[in-house]
Each structure stands twice: as C-alpha cells, then as structure tokens.
C-alpha cells in the first residue's frame, strides 16, 4: 500500500482504498487515485445520500427525464418540454465569493443546455449569517455581483430567488443556482457514449489548473479560514460560455450527435466515465490532444481540472464535418481527444503512455453506498402545544410588531438584490421578481411557466420532516397564487456533516417530508443535488432542503399577482388561521418564552383541497389579486399586497370579521392560507362556491385609501410602510 498516504490526501478513507485494491487486484497509480477519489467524493458519488434519494417520487405523467441525467425534463405539451435543475456552489462561494457564485451559475446553465435546451430563466437561493456584520455584507455583495456578472452577460434573465439570514450560516454561506431551459421533445440530448469507434470531441475553453480537486474540496468541512484553498475554485468566463451556448445550440440542429455532457465537477474524468457508463461502453482519452491553457499541466491536473465552459461530445463518425465549421465561427476549440471503445474501461493516455486504465464501473458504481447511523437530536424533543392563555398574557404592540417585521432582514424587500440582475432580457418575464412566483411566457403559445424556490430553515431546524413538506407546500402555493398548476420539483439538499448521526437524522427526516409532500401534491422530483459538510468549527447549518418548483399556466389570461388593485374590493381570507408560531418570524419580537413553543403543523391533504379551490376560482370568477400567507403571517401578506409597484394602495382589516380569539394570530404562519381580493359581487359568489366545496372563506376587510388600518387598533400610511420595507435591506 505504497500509495495509501496519497489516497488519504485525496480524500479517500483507508477502508475505501482497500476496496479499490480488491476491485483492481492491484494498487492504483497516483493518476488513478486522483480519478477514483474525485468520482468517489461525496459531491460526485452521493455515497451518504443515495440510499435515501432512491425513496423520492420521481415519476409522473409529464416526466420525460428524472434524476440521473444532467437535468430533469418535463412535458408541457405542443412538443415542448422544460429542462431544469438546481445545484449548490456553497463551498467555492465561501472561499472566493464572486467566482464561486459566478461559476455556480455557469455550471447549472451548462447542465441545462447540454440537454439541447435554450436556457430561458435563472433563479438562486442564498443563505448568509448575520447581515449586520461587515464580513457578511462583503460576502453578499460579492456573491450577488458574481451571479449578476455571469447571468447578465449570458443574456438569461434571473427572474426569482430567495435569501435568508441566520447565524448558522456564518462561515457556511449557501449559494444554490437554478436554471430552466426549453426545447422540443424530439431535440433532447443526453450524456451518452454509444457506438465503439465513435470519436470523442472536446468543446469550449482550454484546460488550465483552476478548480483542481474542486469536487474533493466540496466534500470537506472548513477547518479554518486561513487555509482556504483558492486554486480549488474555478474561474468563470461568461462570454466564453455564451459562445459555447450558441455554438452548441447550432450544433444540435445538425445530424449525428450521440451524446454530450458538460465538464462539471471532476471535469474530464466525470464526463468521460459517466457517458461511457450510461452506454455500457469504455472510453479512451488522449491528454496530449486536450487544448491547454498551461503548457506544464500534468496528467493528474488535467484529469481533475474544473476549468469552466467545456463540454465533451460523442459524434457519429460519419458526421464530423459540421463541427469544426460551427466552432470556428464561434471562435472555440473543438478537438477530437479520444474515442468510444468496447472494452468497458476508462483509459487515459499521456505522452503516448497509458496513465489510467480502470473499469468504468469502479468509477461510477464502485463507490460504497453508506447507510450512516442516525440519531434523533435531544434538542428537538419536548415541544409543547401552544396555549391561548399564555398568548393573551404576552405583552406586545400590534403596530410596532408590524413595523419590526417589515424591517426584518428575512421579510424586507429584496429589490437591492434583484435590481442587480437583468430579469427582463428575453422579453418573456411577465411577472417580475417580488410577487409569489416569477412567470415566463412562452412566445408563440398561450402558456406561462411559473418558477419559485423556497425553504424555511427555521422550520426545518425544528422539524426537518414537516419543515421540508412545508417548503414543498409553499412552492405549490406560490405557483397556485400566480394562476398556475404545480408540476415538478428540483431540489438542493444542504446539510452539515453526514458522519454526525444527528445531521444524518435531519437528512433522512427531510427526505421523508419531501417524499410525502411531493407525492400528495403530485410534484415529482426530477433532478437535484446534495450538498453535505456545510459546517465549520462553530457548528453546522440548519437543515436547508431548498425546493425549486416549476408550474404551468395553460393560458396566461389566468395570470395573477399579489397586488391589490381596486378601491372597495373585498379582501378574503381563504383557509383558517391557527396558533402556528413554531419557527415564526414574530417569535423574534415577542417574549413568549420557551415553554410555549408549539410544534410545526401541516395538513397536506387539506392544503391540497385549498390549492385546488384557488385554481378553480381563478378560472371561474373575476379575481383582482391573490397572495399566499407565509413568513410574517396574514398582516405581512396584506402589507405586501398593498405595495403595488404600479400604485400603492391601502387596506382596512376588521378583526371582528377575522374572528380570531387573539390578535397575534394575524402573524401566525399557518400553512394553506391565501389572501384574495375581488369586487364585492364576485366575493359573494366565491363565498358560496367555497361553502359547496367545504373551504373556509371569510371576508376580512376592504381594499382602498392610502393607509393600512386595523379597525379599532391602528392606521399607518402605506407609503411610510413601503419605505420602511424597501429601505431595510442590509446592503
């Protein structure tokens, strides 16, 4: 075991190294260790999560491609399909925030266009520590500029996203990037290497020494801030990617493409071996032919480089003539670097010598799947039911609470961020950032695509199972409120160190909650990513299973947004507010004390009934606005509805009509509730329709004036509240 120290240095364990020797019947050389270690890293192999991921519902009548490919694909009719995925770039974004975030966007875009789709929308999901600290401010600024720098240059609109702050993300920021593309059903390309003898082409930017061992770094925890490994972070060039995108899309219109995959984590190694594996073939790569940026780059470095903007393509040998012409036009490299072989090995030549020769199956399927120990943490136990008597004893001022919540970093306007993203390019964004879900129209059709991303990690920290179900439920609500039908999920599961049994418990519970909700809401999981080891000496992040959901509006005449529009419209509350304060925002500002912490609750079946009801009333009645109730509860939802960017408008809420036993319920975060505004004549019809459908509907107030008023309590100018909400972002 001469090379054991080198294997350990590459992140393999001694046990894993012994398995490799047994499988190979010999000791691997150093290049082979590098290749295997990258493929067996948590990031590439999903060794701690795979067993559980297999439990997720991944099928449905619209699913064309589930997990296992570069991205998931769903059918939206008219021979059109949507290709989408979310992926983490947490570790690189902590080391080098601008480039880490930028290449996160670049990587997810390649995952989408490698499947033949033109990307039409981006979103992101971000988490940081205390935003008042200068170090956090710098991180936010750099991450936001990195995302903007890449997405804006590519000319793909960043239409939505979410950002939350919590101390658990101090030193563990999360940067998850989502991309969505559109293609025709008969123009889908996959990462395959069929047909021994077919040539393997290298496309795009040259290979340099950046991002080497990035996948291994991303599977580790940060010991200290001083030893951060900058060369493991990739450097992005969005201009090159734009050229690569256009060149690939042009290539896809020609004949003879067998398969294509982007060189993401573990670069040449992963793309080559995964493509061969899917086709049950082998692959031969000649590193001497790889276009290089550094002439003194070694075989080991080339195999593990994560230089950006590169693709690997397998072409039918009869169809080589188009490729050089197209890539020359876009001023990019396209070089044959190898071929598909029938021997099922991953073979690499360098200086005319074979430097790697290992069975493909060892790389892609050889890694042991761990069923790591799980243990329920003690701190979660002992949550008691909330009781009204205690609530009534609590002292608070309703007006001040509203102002504090509007100022809260997790509720205030995100305009400072999204104004740095070009959310309009492409002229398809028909609901801009700021409403429940972003909506993209599909030119030439009546269809609209709804996009949203959610995860309340305070909920998930209290109960990862229900918390994750709630992330699915909220995503559904966002889409339903925009007039759409929720279709499918892509997720990014961000957790701490899986070797800690309590973290593993969180992960397993979260998967259970995701599976349950995805099944009942009929939103299968079609793609995703797991990011573990998000922890440092101070501790682990809250469980953060980010859910991104895609929905469809069959006819954009049903498009709705959250903003109140007309004087004298009735305000209706759909669903019933309960004492749901677990993990709620208002708890930060009232002194409820630990003894009355309530459990999280979610009735998924009832929630689905309410969703279906909303979907129907949008199509049956004339509705001015719909907004779902989430963080901050009813009163925040009402305030947000007043903040119509076209024209601010007031509202009056009558507590008697609300019929709550305590007014604090106006901040409860009960799941499955919506605010609807409509003309009085329509609201009567909605009420009687609700009665027939056994849905709880109450008229709770009226739109109009220039103040947000609670009858017999307070009245505040909407313009003042709007300024508070808009100017509180800690930029």
């Amino acid at each position: 075991m001469d090379n054991l120290p080198f294997a350990l240095e590459n992140g393999l364990t001694e046990k894993e190294y012994k398995i490799i020797i047994t499988k190979l019947s010999r000791e691997p050389n150093k290049n082979e260790i590098g290749v295997i270690a990258a493929m067996w890293s948590e990031h590439c192999s999903y060794k701690s999560s795979k067993f559980y991921l297999n439990q997720l519902p991944t099928r449905g009548k619209r699913v064309i491609q589930g997990p296992g490919e570069n991205a998931g694909i769903i059918d939206i009719g008219d021979n059109q399909c949507l290709v989408f995925k979310i992926e983490s770039h947490n570790h690189p974004s902590f080391i080098e925030p601008y480039q880490g975030a930028a290449t996160g966007v670049g990587g997810i875009l390649r995952d989408v266009f490698t499947m033949g789709a033109r990307p039409i929308a981006l979103m992101n999901s971000l988490r940081f520590g205390n935003p008042k600290k200068n170090s956090t401010k710098r991180l936010i600024k750099e991450v936001v500029s990195g995302i903007a720098g890449y997405g804006n240059c590519m000319g793909i609109p960043t239409v939505g996203g979410e950002i939350y702050f919590d101390n658990s993300y101090k030193g563990n920021p999360l940067v998850n990037a989502f991309a969505l593309g559109i293609t025709k059903k008969n123009k889908i390309f996959k990462g395959r290497a069929d047909g021994p003898g077919n040539p393997v082409f290298y496309l795009g930017a040259k290979t340099g020494k950046d991002g080497i061992k990035g996948a291994i770094m991303a599977s580790d925890i940060f010991e200290s801030e001083k030893n951060l490994d900058k060369p493991t972070v990739q450097i992005g060039d969005p201009f090159k990617e734009k050229l690569l995108l256009e060149a690939c899309l042009e290539l896809f219109n020609t004949e003879g493409i067998i398969g294509i995959q982007d060189m993401g984590a573990a670069g040449l190694t992963s793309s080559g071996s995964e493509m061969a594996s899917r086709s049950n073939n082998g692959i031969l790569l000649d590193l001497d032919k790889v276009p290089k940026r550094d002439l003194d780059i070694s075989a080991y470095e080339m195999l593990l480089s994560e230089s950006q903007e590169r693709m690997l393509l397998v072409l039918n040998k009869k169809n080589r003539k188009n490729i050089n012409k197209i890539f020359k036009k876009w001023n990019l490299d396209s070089t044959q670097i190898g071929e598909v072989i029938s021997k099922k090995n991953f073979i690499v030549k360098y200086n005319n010598k074979v430097v790697v020769d290992i069975p493909v199956s060892i790389l892609t399927k050889g890694c042991p799947i761990y069923k790591r120990p799980i243990k329920k943490p003690k701190s979660i136990k002992g949550l008691k039911k909330i009781n009204n008597a205690n609530l009534k004893k609590t002292k608070y001022d309703l007006k001040n609470l509203l102002i504090k919540l509007l100022k809260d970093e997790n509720i205030c306007s995100r305009e400072w961020i999204y104004n740095q993203f070009d959310y309009m390019v492409g002229t398809n964004t028909i609901t801009v950032p700021g409403s429940d879900s972003a909506v993209i129209r599909i030119k030439g059709t009546k269809k609209g695509v709804c996009l949203t991303t959610n995860c309340n990690s305070s909920y998930c920290n209290l109960d990862p199972n229900i918390g994750t179900s709630i992330a699915v439920a909220e995503s559904c609500r966002n889409i339903i409120a925009s007039g759409g039908e929720p279709l499918a999920i892509t997720n990014c599961l961000n957790f701490g160190n899986p070797e800690n049994s309590e973290i593993m418990w969180q992960f397993v519970e979260s998967i259970k909650g995701l599976s349950k909700a995805a099944k009942i809401f009929k939103t299968p999981v079609v793609s995703g990513n797991v990011s573990l080891y998000n922890e440092n000496k101070q501790g682990s992040i809250h469980p953060t299973p980010v859910i991104s959901m895609v929905g469809l509006i069959d006819d954009i005449k049903y498009l709705k947004n959250q903003w109140f529009k007309n004087e004298d419209d009735d305000i209706l509350l759909i669903g019933k507010l309960k004492n749901d304060f677990a993990g709620s925002q208002v708890l930060k500002y009232i002194n409820l004390k630990h003894k009355i912490t309530s459990p999280l609750t979610l009735n998924i079946k009832k929630h689905l009934e309410i969703n279906n009801f909303i979907y129907k009333i949008i199509r049956k009645f004339d509705i001015a606005s719909i907004h779902d109730i989430s963080e901050g509860g009813l009163l925040i939802a009402i305030a947000e509805s007043c903040f119509n960017p076209e024209k601010l408008i007031g509202a009056t809420i009558d507590q008697k009509m609300l019929n709550t036993d305590n007014e604090l319920k106006m901040f409860a975060e009960t799941q499955g509730c919506y605010i609807v505004s409509a003309k009085k004549s329509e609201s009567t019809k909605i009420k009687s329709f609700a009665k027939k459908n056994n849905i709880n509907v109450r008229i709770v107030g009226t739109v109009g004036g220039d103040a947000l008023s609670i009858k017999d309590s307070f009245s505040l100018k909407v313009s003042k509240l709007y300024d508070i909400w808009r100017q509180s972002f800690p930029s």
């Binding site: 903007a148 240059c153 090159k240 734009k242 104004n419 959310y423 309009m424 390019v425 002229t427 030119k443």
Partner: protein, 244 residues
C-alpha cells in the same frame, strides 16, 4: 386629426428593412427582432459581425448585450470589428442607426456619437423601470411622441453613466442632440430620477445630423402590453413613419 393622419400613413406604408447587428456576446438581438418582425410586422434580418457588407437596409440596430464580453472596455472591441466600419460608412451617408445599451456604448467607441459611458455611480448593474423625457420630438426616432412626454422604459446596464466635457455639452445642447433625459413619472428631471449618474440626466442622444441615436433604456422591452410597458414601441414606429 393626428390619429387619422397616422392611420392614413399606415395604409400607405411599405415594409421597412431593419438589420440587427450580431456581435459575439450580443444578447438582445432576438428581443429587437421579435418587436420588429412579430409586433410591428416589418422586415428584419440579422447581420453577423464578420460580414463585409450589407445591402437594402433602411435602419441598422445595434442591440444590447455584452459584445466581446465587455472585455477591455464596453464596446471597444466591437468597434474594431469588420462590420463596424461598414456601419460607420452607412451612418456617414445619412443611414438610420440606433444603438441600444451596449449598442450606444459601441456608437460612442465608433465616435459616431460624442461622449463616453462610465460605470454607474452605484458601481452596480441596475435593472429597473425608468422614466425618460422626450426632449426633442422632431427627430426620425421620436416623431410620434409628444414633446416633454415622460415615457416608461426599463434600463439594464452597469456602464450607463454618460459623460461629456463642458464644451461638447454646449454643442450638443445647441444642436438639440439631447433626445431623452431621465426624469420622474411627472417628467421632472431630478437628481433622484437619475439612475446612473449621467451628466444632465442624459439617457439618449443623437449625432449632429440626427440620423444616429444611442440610448441606454431598452425600448424593445417596452413594446408589448403583456410586459407591462408599451412606451418603447413608438420609437420603432417613429422610424417606420420617418422612412415612409
């Protein structure tokens, strides 16, 4: 009466031939194409940067984007490409040229328009709706707008902070070359309504001859009701109106 004249004009109008320049890194060309072809039903074609000539074109549009990745300086490399010298000839012979956003930056690099576009005062990329005032409606680009009308058109740029030295400012003022200025919704040119720090709130200006226009706001993003903004459509209609 004006409306009636417009309708009469429309009946007589021939289809105008627009040419949209495509540089590596352009990314608003499809949005311009969509408005011209699908909304305004005119003829439209793309012109690749590597071509030596273009023919039968009534109006050239240089679209927004990041030509050559904005490397070196925005618009600087595009100004050196083959097609740019042809655009220069076309403009010098009186041809109609519109540069939007990156197109405006390229026009200043080509010296077809005076001034330079610096980094925004905030140093950030800014994407949002802005109001701009039509300072001069007696041009081929603005003849269907009212004088001093405030129109809503979005911006999306990091380098839109227009700068010009004092002598040149006097000269463009004298020649009525200032076409659009940032303003509030009432049409007042205020400090608050200037999103990027441009001198005199300038959002768009023409050359001395009035045949070349550069503007930072994106009229092609404001030409359809479904996008919430329609005020940009009249800019293209003005050109069609003028050429007819």
């Amino acid at each position: 009466m004006k409306l009636l004249n417009n309708i009469k004009l429309k009946l007589k109008m021939r289809k105008i031939n627009f040419g949209i320049i495509q540089f590596p890194g352009s990314n608003c060309e499809q949005d311009c194409f969509n408005v011209i072809k699908n909304i305004l039903k005119q003829n439209c074609k793309y012109i690749w940067h590597d071509l030596n000539s273009f023919r039968n074109i009534d109006c050239i549009i240089i679209p927004g984007g990041f030509s050559y990745g904005d490397y070196l300086r925005t618009g600087a490399i595009a100004a050196q490409s083959k097609i740019s010298s042809k655009i220069k000839n076309f403009a010098n012979q009186g041809g109609t040229v519109v540069g939007i956003c990156n197109g405006f930056q390229i026009l200043t690099e080509l010296k077809l328009l005076p001034g330079i576009l610096l980094r925004n005062k905030s140093l950030n990329f800014i994407c949002k709706n802005t109001f701009i005032k039509v300072e001069n409606n007696e041009t081929r680009f603005t003849n269907l707008y009212e004088h001093n009308q405030a129109i809503r058109i979005p911006i999306a740029h990091a380098e839109g902070n227009f700068y010009l030295n004092k002598n040149e400012i006097d000269s463009i003022k004298k020649n009525s070359q200032i076409i659009f200025t940032y303003c509030d919704s009432e049409g007042n040119s205020t400090f608050e309504s200037n999103p990027n720090g441009s001198i005199l709130n300038i959002a768009g200006l023409s050359n001395k001859n009035g045949n070349v226009l550069g503007l930072m706001p994106h009229p092609e993003r404001a030409s359809e009701k479904i996008l919430g903004n329609v005020d940009g459509k009249k800019l293209f209609e003005s050109i069609i109106n003028y050429i007819n």
